[in-house]
């Protein structure tokens, strides 16, 4: 699936929830389903420390695509991390750079991504984009593949 298709399918999944609590219950489910990141990756260089919750993020590159793993100590944040991974992981650097992740707005969870909501999510998205920029550069220079 392309990023846009993945976003569409998420929007569709969320569209059945009319009640906020159901929406969040689903996020919690997503959070619970996302495997915990390996403890050896829970190191400070992978940590994005918000005032409210912590997020861990790792990135790997092969076959022209970036594969992210992520985690959080707050389960709702972890659910949102799961959505981000689902949308962005396994795509090319350029695709990741180009997307604006507007689906978060459409499913009504934009607040969590605001720069002032210090849960680490916004910083995680920034970090994902930075990884993409870095890998694109390395790939262009032929230093990775």
């Amino acid at each position: 699936m392309t990023i846009t298709e993945e976003e569409k399918s998420i929007i569709e999944e969320f569209s059945i929830y009319e009640d906020w609590m159901d929406k969040y219950a689903y996020l919690i489910e997503l959070g619970n389903e996302l495997p915990d990141i390996d403890d050896k990756h829970k190191i400070s260089e992978n940590l994005i420390r918000g005032c409210q919750s912590r997020v861990w993020l790792t990135a790997d590159y092969h076959d022209g695509k970036i594969f992210f793993e992520g985690d959080s100590d707050a389960i709702i944040v972890k659910g949102l991390v799961a959505l981000m991974l689902r949308v962005l992981s396994g795509h090319t650097p350029q695709e990741i750079i180009d997307t604006d992740l507007s689906f978060i707005d459409e499913i009504g969870l934009k607040q969590h991504l605001s720069p002032t909501r210090s849960n680490g999510l916004m910083a995680m998205v920034k970090q994902m984009k930075l990884y993409a920029v870095a890998y694109r550069k390395l790939a262009e220079e032929g230093r990775i593949s």
Partner: protein, 404 residues
């Protein structure tokens, strides 16, 4: 005598529905809502016109000057200061503390001098001192607290050396709720010629404050936490000290005469009020104080204590909850964690059920460090909360926890 229903009517926001649920506002330690009396006065001043104060010489300016300076008297009486010159209007507690850290520091702090803070201080009562210490080569020392959130006051005497110049301590902790024995701290400090600033941001709205009885050297609080407007605060300082320390900010109002060769400063309190103040904010604060005074802080405290007792009891019954801060003398703030639910998740879900609490570290990193935790949920009460609020809160907690 204390008609909670009548009081609630003064706060129209309590009828708000959020996400289709009635609002239960338990984030009062962050900011309180305003009674109609305050909003109406502010609205009226903005609508009916205002002038700049002090130097103006026309009707609108005179009216605002009068109301502004009357508020100084209102504050003076509210905290029982000795004179109106001891009341400085600032933009909030944070600025009040910065003012003292700077001006007291400029005058009295030399390399190697020591400042004592408690370990439960809000960042606003830590960072200004750190910035000053970095400039002056002075040192911060910390007064610890015990498991229950009670300051280890026995250690104070041993922390004080002849290098100690000032102690800065919260009257009430914004997380633990502890009412610190500031009067005793001040007594000990003064025995050693050490000055004391009391951060009253979380006290002024809950208990009667008498700066002469406390004998504190400085006292700071914010308008927005005592049912008043944003952008206004107070610094009380003993006249003799305010006279001795240099001005903080420079500008209009705070001068007597200015030339490129030198400037002479205005008398107190104007010496510390540079620039056009938050005129309408100050006047609004006066109305908020009148509101609180009309209810009586003893009555408010009693009402909040009953609620606090009930809230604490219900949380303990709830199970899986650890409360941080169980001092015998406590104001109406409860910080806690649930064994299964991360504070952020708790806050998010409570919000969607209409309950406003605060989560995270509440600008008290060292306090959270002390407990080895990275956040808590904080429910904080105000005069307009009632038993039903707490019942709704507990019901919402049940719903949230059932999701995990």
């Amino acid at each position: 005598m204390f008609n909670i229903e009548a009081i609630r009517k003064d706060f129209p926001v309590l009828d708000l529905q959020v996400y289709g649920k009635p609002l239960v506002y338990l984030d009062n330690a962050a900011t309180t809502q305003r009674p109609n009396q305050v909003s109406a006065l502010i609205a009226d001043l903005y609508q009916s016109g205002s002038g700049n104060i002090h130097r103006g010489a026309h009707f609108l300016a005179d009216r605002c000057t009068m109301l502004f300076e009357q508020t100084r008297d209102t504050v003076k009486e509210f905290i029982n200061a000795e004179s109106r010159e001891e009341i400085i209007f600032t933009k909030g507690t944070t600025e009040s503390i910065n003012l003292v850290a700077f001006s007291f520091g400029e005058r009295f702090i030399n390399p190697g001098d020591e400042i004592i803070l408690s370990e439960m201080e809000h960042h606003s009562n830590i960072v200004p001192w750190q910035l000053m210490c970095n400039r002056k080569g002075a040192v911060l020392k910390k007064l610890p607290f015990d498991e229950n959130g009670v300051l280890e006051i026995d250690l104070l005497e041993s922390l004080i050396t002849e290098k100690t110049k000032i102690i800065s301590v919260a009257h009430v902790s914004n997380v633990l709720g502890t009412v610190n024995p500031v009067k005793e701290i001040i007594r000990i400090a003064h025995r050693h010629q050490v000055k004391v600033l009391v951060d009253g941001a979380q006290a002024i709205q809950h208990l009667p404050v008498d700066v002469q009885d406390l004998d504190c050297d400085f006292y700071a609080f914010s308008g927005h936490k005592i049912y008043g407007p944003t952008g206004v605060g107070v610094l009380y300082g003993k006249k003799i000290l305010l006279d001795e320390i240099p001005p903080y900010q420079g500008g209009g109002e705070m001068i007597d005469s200015v030339s490129f060769n030198g400037t002479t400063f205005n008398v107190l309190p104007y010496k510390f009020e540079a620039g056009t103040p938050n005129i309408i904010g100050v006047i609004g604060l006066g109305e908020a104080i009148r509101y609180v005074s009309s209810l009586g802080l003893e009555n408010i405290g009693e009402h909040e204590h009953q609620l606090l007792g009930y809230l604490t009891q219900e949380l303990k019954k709830f199970g899986g909850i650890k409360i941080y801060g169980e001092a015998p003398n406590k104001a109406s703030v409860v910080a806690f964690r649930h064994e299964k639910v991360h504070p952020y998740d708790m806050g998010m879900l409570l919000d969607k059920l209409g309950v406003a609490v605060r989560t995270g570290r509440h600008c008290t990193d060292p306090l959270h460090e002390r407990f080895g935790i990275d956040g808590t949920v904080r429910a904080s009460l105000a005069v307009y909360n009632n038993i039903e609020d707490i019942d709704l809160f507990i019901k919402a907690m049940n719903r949230v926890v059932s999701m995990f």
